[in-house]
Amino acid sequence: MTELARRRDETLAERLIHMNWLVLVSVSLLVAIGTATLYSVEGGSFEPWAERHGVRFLLGFGVILAMVAMPMWLWRAAALPIYLLALGLLLLVPVLGVEALGAKRWLDVFGLQFQPTEVMKVAIVLMLARYYDALPPSRIADPVAVFVPVVIIAVPLAFTLSQPDLGSAALYAAVGLGLMFLAGVPILYFAGGAMVAAFAIPFVWAGLHDYQRRRIETFLDPGADPLGAGYHIAQSKIALGAGGISGKGFMQGTQSQLDFLPEKHTDFIFTTFAEEWGFWGALGLLVLYAILLTLLAIMAMRARSMFARLVIAGAWSTIFVYVFINIAMVSGLVPVVGVPLPFVSYGGTSMVTLLAALGLALAADVDEGQNRRMLRRASRP
């Protein structure tokens, strides 16, 4: 016990050496694929997307290192303030927000534009991790103890839905519930929650915006309006199909080169990639994501503190939800909800969010590793 009290934090260099570099290698590969696809989308030009995509990643890489440098206790202490700050920003959006594409999502602070919903994605993970870290395991099944995280998730979710931002709301719900499950909340609660949700569907439907309803209707019957709302899905399927087994080749994808694809550089970039690289390319990209997710899953399972476990699981599940919703969306399995493909889609906000989540996870992993190393040293004779 005394030895532990004398425990010192490892130096920055030590932390970096012990960082899980494999995760960063796979993320770098994904960013490289994104950059190449953006280069192709623009008909062989680094301007305007590919170059910025790469530069942003390099900046984000710096952010990761900075986050890894900070010890876990600092993050643990900052969790509640960060969550409350994110909630406050979310509340400010309807008042001070900038409107774009029919939705108010952006805040402009001293010329820096950002989406509070993105900040909240990290904040919810931190907050839930902090909560379960403090909760004695014996109280895990206590109804009140189950109710608190539901509120932590539901409050930002309600504000996000009203913005409206269906994609982020879905992510809060999926990641939040995932973390609750991993924290050990009994299955019965989830079953009950599912039944409540089933009853709530008609009321949620009534509360949705027209365009949101249209998207869901379009998803259910995309052929009904091929030039209208179903256009995106139809063109995306055409592009995927036209790619075939081996693809049309780099820079040869006509659907995206000729602008038939919507949002070909952001949400629909997977389609562009799959048109040019075919089924094998798409499968390769899926495998790369699977590797990244497996690395994160192993990290989470190796962690001993609940805080570290859930912070890592937060990054893990966030990346998974993004990947699944995005690819399921462009291949017509789920409605178009506007979720980017992690590290591949162009877009600063999602890149920062994902790298921040990843930075936290890596920092937690380094801390856990430090504990393990100290234990090994201490147990040596």
């Binding site: 395991p137 995927l240 006509t254 038939f260 291949s331 017509g332």
Partner: protein, 614 residues
Amino acid sequence: MQGPGDEPRDGDSGFTRRALVVGALQAGALGLLAARLYQLQVLEGRRYAPLAEDNRISQRGVMPRRGRIVDRAGVVLAANDEMYRVSILSASDSELKETLARLAAIVPLSEQEIATTLAKARTTQRNEPLIVAGNLSFDQVAAIGLHAASLPGVETDVDLRRRYFHGRETGHVTGYVGSVERHAMDDEAFLRMPGARVGKAGVELGMDKDLRGKCGSRKFEVDARGHIVRHLDEIDPVEGRDVMLTIDAGLQSRVLDRLAGIPRGAVVAIDVTNGEVVLMASVPAFDPNDLTINFEPDVWKKLQAEPHKPLLNRAIGGQYPPGSTFKMVTALAALEAGTASLRERVTCDGSFEYKDSTFRCWNRGGHGAMDLTDALRESCDVYFYELARRTGIDRIAAMARRLGLGQTYAAGIGQQKRGIVPDPGWKRAALGKAWLGGETILAGIGQGFVLTTPLQLAVMTARLATGRAVVPTLVRRPDDARPALPVFPPLAVKSEWLDAVRSAMVGVVNDAGGTGGNAAISDSAVVIAGKTGTSQVRSTGGDRGAGGDAFELRDHALFVSYFPADKPRYAIAAVIEHGGGGGATAAPIVRDVIETLIDFDPAARVTTGSLERP
């Protein structure tokens, strides 16, 4: 010793188990995505590939140049004027509005024109250009090219407008072109081209397929807004073929001058050796340019409202009772049937009784005893009433058809009328009534139901003159493509009888008592053969030729003729609507036409290369 992280906690193994559950669910979800991609890309890939091609490639027709029409001497009668026009690809409403506003700075566009284009764009398929304005100057086209970057989807091209030269003289023959009617549009790529024009009348209609040519095509790669990214493939159009006519524009002009002052009528002249129609004049004339390059919105109404119907080419579209010009048909039918002989005389006392009706001869006092030659020369009606009664309508109708009546010809000119060669079958089909004997009597002198066009009368005359089934044409084949004479099969009418009819026709013009003396020309070396006709407009068997009657009720004056009588070269038919007597009105016109023909073709008076009579 245990570190805090190693503290045995409830749910440790729980976390790992649950993480494995989550991992398994994720693996399943990613597997589902892989399966979905396999379905879309591998199983259904072949179905989607052509859809992507369809998206990408836009095909557009390239208009062929319409063939020119020239007269027999090579004088251009119809050609194409090049006019620049500007078109725009339909795009989103707002984009189109902006582009049109910018375009309006270069090309004057009224609010109305912009509104029309926008309205059209809403109903037009993407990738199909809309014509915004025509008749641009070269400077405007250059300015549009200069501002191309700010005018997405805007293209300029050349529109071909039909211009007619000598339109007044040859307009009825050339006809005119017009835009494609909606119902004809899906036939052929050409017809769907914006601004495509097809023949509507005359040779433009009759030879439309030749003149039109075939559409070329251009394939473009287009982006989602329909803007051209690059050219992929180009197939040149097959230009329309030029058509050379058999008519002579100079001759037309001279004859139309001669017809000045005549409200309605037509003259046709055929070269009997090859069927070439060298002259086809119809009055009143019109200028086809009024329907193409000088088009004004109400020109159709104006032309249609004219009482003399100038758009009607009377040479092929005017149907008239042939009157006495039909008597050759009756004569030959009777001779062939044996119901008449060359020597037998029939006495004309001015009228003819049949059942309870009385049919009058034009000569109230009667012609006395007449043989066939006398009867043709003096155009005795009673003689032919009697022949018609003896011969019957079926034989007369058959002979009329052999001589070219009651039919249209593959002559390369559109809107020919068939006329009527009546018989009991026709009457039952057309009127639902039984044939009456009296109708045969009237048909015998070319009245009653019989209707012919001037072209048909000229063909009949050519066939009488040659004894061959002459077929007229308005399209001149190149000299080397013309078959050697004789081209037309014999009529299989005994030459003895044909000769009798011919010599009677010579008598009509040249003998005392002949009704067509006015047709004789000053050059006595050229013998003219002919036959007068004065056909009643009213169907009553009573008075005729009453000069005091209203114009519309006056008789039509007809004259058919061929020359030279011994070696025929040209056959002519003239119909002067409400002109009165054939001998008085039509014969002098034909005489002048013959003199003009000889003027243009001096060889005609001593024809050497004429057709062998069978």
